[in-house]
């Protein structure tokens, strides 16, 4: 794990920074570092739902009952559960009321995800211990809520360990703290007001780095001495003590590997985090520099890797009327546009899902005004009379209440989702794999894979129509040109027909940017061809395509059709 790079990613991670008084043997507990998708959102969430307060002196954290939680924005690699730091915990004087409040807000609109016990309850009273329950934050951090009047506010960090006793001993030996039993029952380590607990792991815990609880940090009074001690006790350094790039103060930081694949940070006094703005994300709108496209071993331009359209999400297809004279948006306008396109539509999705997709990783929102670049006014050309007729017919055929699956869109049915891979709120990944004479373009959405022959093999016969069409490719210089036809016309793009020829042009414009142009030539529908453009950004450090088994888990279809039948029943009842 390249720790330095990870930290430099535009941050959507949350760092929980606990600045505690100093009963310091070797080190003080300093903070837990969480990962969220956006520090501002995370501050709002922890303030609204867990009663934390925004920090006065920095814009990336909150204080929760005497302890700080600091947020560092970057996409997470998933929930904290089953990593070496399974969860963190907050204590409330009346947990029944707190849990009732959280249950009432619901996941939609709040991102509060309750983890229910097997009997369906969210709260359990453990005799001799206290009431407790579990929730997840929207970014995948598992949070235990407890009712422990002895310690209110931030309560404990729960490690998951192959050998819990040995793990606690490891921490005590290196960072001090006092062995104690929580309520006389659970072995732990007392670090100031915070408990460090360790549960028995089921197998080897997963690494914390990159997950929603990324690491725990300890403040050390003297970095060189502390580092020396750790080194002599055999602790592996993931990164050496240094002032991090973008550090807000001159304080140094180091990362070491703890037991159970836990990442630990050591920070010097005065450490105040890393300025997220320091890391300049890829701005796909900046002027292109000359770039030599790398070659595959067999001599083709090499486009392989995992790319995402996240940066382009929010670019409208057509140029808005009020931006007729605008060349590019400002960064602020672009950020606001992307937020408009995502917030509101994303809350309520599973946090891990939203994280990895809304991470929007290393890509600044595109400042491109519109996708359509030809016609030059950025507007679609006029439709033919037949095109208008097809559009009207499609609108007229829509049934407000679906009689069966066929009345729902190919999107809802998990058949296909947009002929042109214009980015949406999630699953904007594009994996490219090349072999001699073939390029595979795999879209994350629906796991659709187009295999494009780049030799001179002919198209299949005209009668073989399909949803995605028949693709043939060729190299024009360093550009991959893909011509696609034989569409069945049943998944129209902007009202396209079965007469469509879609021509895609992929050009690698930099190490991390892939320009994508699509030309829609459908003489049945439009009076002239038109072309749109946006840019994919490469993101191999954080992004890997995950199998999107859409149809296999399509509860949405069952729910929509069940709802439609319930509506039918209501209406026939009302009509009587």
């Amino acid at each position: 794990m390249n720790r330095t790079r990870n930290i430099l990613l535009p941050s959507i991670a949350a760092a929980a920074a606990m600045l505690l008084p100093a009963p310091a043997p070797a080190a003080d507990y300093h903070h837990v570092h969480l990962t969220t998708s956006n520090a501002t959102e995370a501050i709002g969430w922890y303030s609204r739902y867990l009663d934390c307060e925004p920090l006065a002196d920095r814009d990336d954290g909150v204080e929760c009952g005497g302890a700080q939680v600091v947020f560092d924005s970057r996409p997470t690699l998933g929930s904290s559960q089953r990593t070496g730091i399974d969860h963190i915990s907050f204590s409330y004087p009346d947990l029944t009321a707190k849990m009732g409040e959280l249950e009432a807000v619901g996941v939609r609109g709040s991102g509060v995800r309750l983890q229910r016990f097997q009997d369906g309850s969210t709260l359990r009273d453990v005799p001799g211990l206290f009431k407790h329950g579990f929730i997840f934050d929207p970014w995948g951090t598992r949070i235990e809520l407890v009712e422990d009047s002895a310690t209110l506010g931030f309560h404990h960090i729960h490690l998951s360990a192959a050998d819990p006793a040995a793990t606690l001993a490891w921490y005590q030996e290196r960072f001090g703290g006092e062995s104690a039993r929580l309520r006389g029952r659970i072995d732990g380590l007392r670090l100031g007001d915070v408990w460090l607990l360790a549960m028995q792991a089921d197998g080897e815990p997963a690494a914390t780095a990159g997950r929603s609880i990324d690491h725990i940090a300890f403040a050390v009074p003297e970095m060189d001495a502390a580092a020396g001690d750790l080194r002599s006790s055999g602790v592996a350094f993931l990164s050496e003590p240094a002032v991090p790039d973008g550090g807000r103060t001159g304080a140094r930081r180091a990362f070491v590997g703890g037991p159970d694949n836990v990442s630990l940070a050591l920070v010097e006094e005065g450490f105040a985090g890393v300025d997220a703005e320091f890391d300049a994300p890829v701005d796909i709108t900046t002027e292109l520099q000359p770039y030599t496209v790398p070659r595959t071993p067999w001599g083709a331009p090499d486009f392989q890797g995992v790319w995402t359209g996240d940066a382009a999400h929010g670019i409208p297809l057509q140029r808005p009327e009020d931006l007729a004279e605008v060349e590019v948006l400002t960064s602020e306008q672009a950020a606001a546009r992307r937020e408009r396109g995502t917030l509101g539509s994303i809350w309520g999705y599973e946090s891990e899902w939203r994280d990895t997709t809304l991470g929007y990783v290393r890509s600044a929102p595109s400042r491109q005004v519109a996708m359509v670049v030809d016609p030059p006014d950025g507007r679609l050309p006029a439709r033919t009379p037949e095109g208008e007729r097809l559009l009207a017919a499609a609108r007229a055929a829509r049934r407000p209440i679906a009689e069966g699956p066929e009345d729902l869109s190919s999107w809802v049915r998990c058949i296909t989702r947009s002929l042109v891979p214009t980015p949406g709120v999630y699953n904007n990944g594009l994996q490219i794999v090349q072999g001699p004479n073939h390029v595979a373009l795999q879209r994350e959405m629906i796991h659709e894979t187009r295999v494009v022959p780049t030799d001179d093999s002919p198209h299949v016969g005209d009668a073989i129509t399909s949803w995605l069409g028949d693709a043939r490719g060729r190299w024009e210089g360093d550009t991959l040109v893909v011509e696609i036809r034989n569409f069945n016309g049943r998944a129209p793009y902007q009202g396209s027909s079965d007469a469509l020829t879609l021509t895609e042009r992929y050009t690698r414009t930099g190490p991390d940017t892939l320009e994508y142009r699509f030309t829609i030539d459908d003489p049945k529908v439009w009076t002239r061809p038109w072309t749109g453009m946006f840019t994919f950004v490469r993101d191999e450090t954080q992004y890997e395509l995950v199998e999107y088994a859409c149809h296999e888990g399509n509860y949405g279809m069952t729910n929509i059709l069940s709802g439609a039948r319930a509506r039918d029943a209501e209406e026939s009842g009302a009509g009587r």
């Binding site: 794999v433 595979a440 399909s466 199998e547 059709l561 069940s562």
Partner: protein, 267 residues
């Protein structure tokens, strides 16, 4: 990063030496840019393993399908014959068999899993590059990316229908270690199955330019008493312009899955 580079350099060196050693022995096997066998192309299994990977006699097929749906007899592909199920797992297999015309994930156009994707009666493409090898199957748009360039994470990050595949070359054999399955897929239309503890180690060995010996060793301690192996040849599709055509079967499964929710129910 440095670690990755050095590991990669080591791997390439190994490949070069092995390739040099074996080139003389099997000159007819097409070679890729790096000296490894070139598996690029469209392949297909021939046989009846998709009906039943074990020996089976001819039998009636789904109701109302007549001879088109009838099951031809076939010789099994399990090495040594017989799948070593645990007792309770065998009962589950038999229950799957009883319910095969409603429960088989293939009926529902669900992704077929591994190894079933290999010997469904559809062609599949192997796209062999320098970092990944992709398998693009002809059913349910299933595909796999075999990582030749990444360390195999244990345990696999999450469970999926097609699993997570990491590959390496052992001489002229492509060895693919596939794990991280969700336990939902079956092996055939006879209800043979494994659970989410499934691990499939596949070996693809060229038998000449137009055939590959496919061997898959299957283990899942919760279901089988020991690892077992299937093997069969895969044949190159030699037709001019042979393609794996798009076959989106979702709409053909919708009546089966949602027919009872139509305004006029069909099921």
């Amino acid at each position: 990063m440095t670690k990755w580079k050095s590991a990669r350099a080591g791997a390439m060196l190994t490949v070069f030496l092995l390739a040099a050693g074996s080139a003389a022995a099997q000159t007819e096997v097409p070679r890729a840019f790096d000296g490894n066998p070139d598996l690029n192309g469209v392949w297909q299994a021939i046989g009846t393993a998709h009906w039943d990977i074990e020996d089976h006699p001819a039998a009636a097929g789904p109701p109302d399908m007549g001879a088109i749906g009838a099951i031809p007899p076939g010789q099994g592909v399990v090495v040594g014959g017989g799948i070593p199920y645990r007792a309770d797992a065998l009962a589950q297999k038999q229950q799957n068999f009883e319910n095969r015309w409603t429960d088989d994930p293939e009926l529902k156009c669900f992704m077929p899993g591994v190894p079933r994707a290999t010997y469904l009666p559809y062609p599949f493409r192997i796209l062999q590059g320098d970092r990944k090898i992709m398998f693009i199957y002809g059913f349910a748009e299933a595909n796999r990316t075999v990582h030749m360039d990444k360390e195999n994470p244990e345990p696999p990050p999450l469970d999926t229908w097609m699993g997570r595949s990491h590959g390496r070359w052992e001489g002229d054999t492509l060895v693919v270690d596939a794990q991280g399955f969700n336990g939902e897929a079956w092996f055939d239309r006879a209800g043979n199955y494994a659970g989410s503890g499934l691990r499939v180690v596949e070996r693809y060995t060229p038998m000449g330019p137009n055939a590959i010996l496919y061997e898959a060793t299957i283990e899942d301690p919760a279901v089988f008493t020991r690892p077992w192996t299937i093997e069969m040849p895969l044949y190159r599709r030699l037709e001019a312009n042979a393609r794996v055509l798009e076959y989106k079967c979702v709409e053909f499964s919708e009546d089966l899955i949602y027919g009872h929710l139509r305004r006029v129910p069909t099921r």
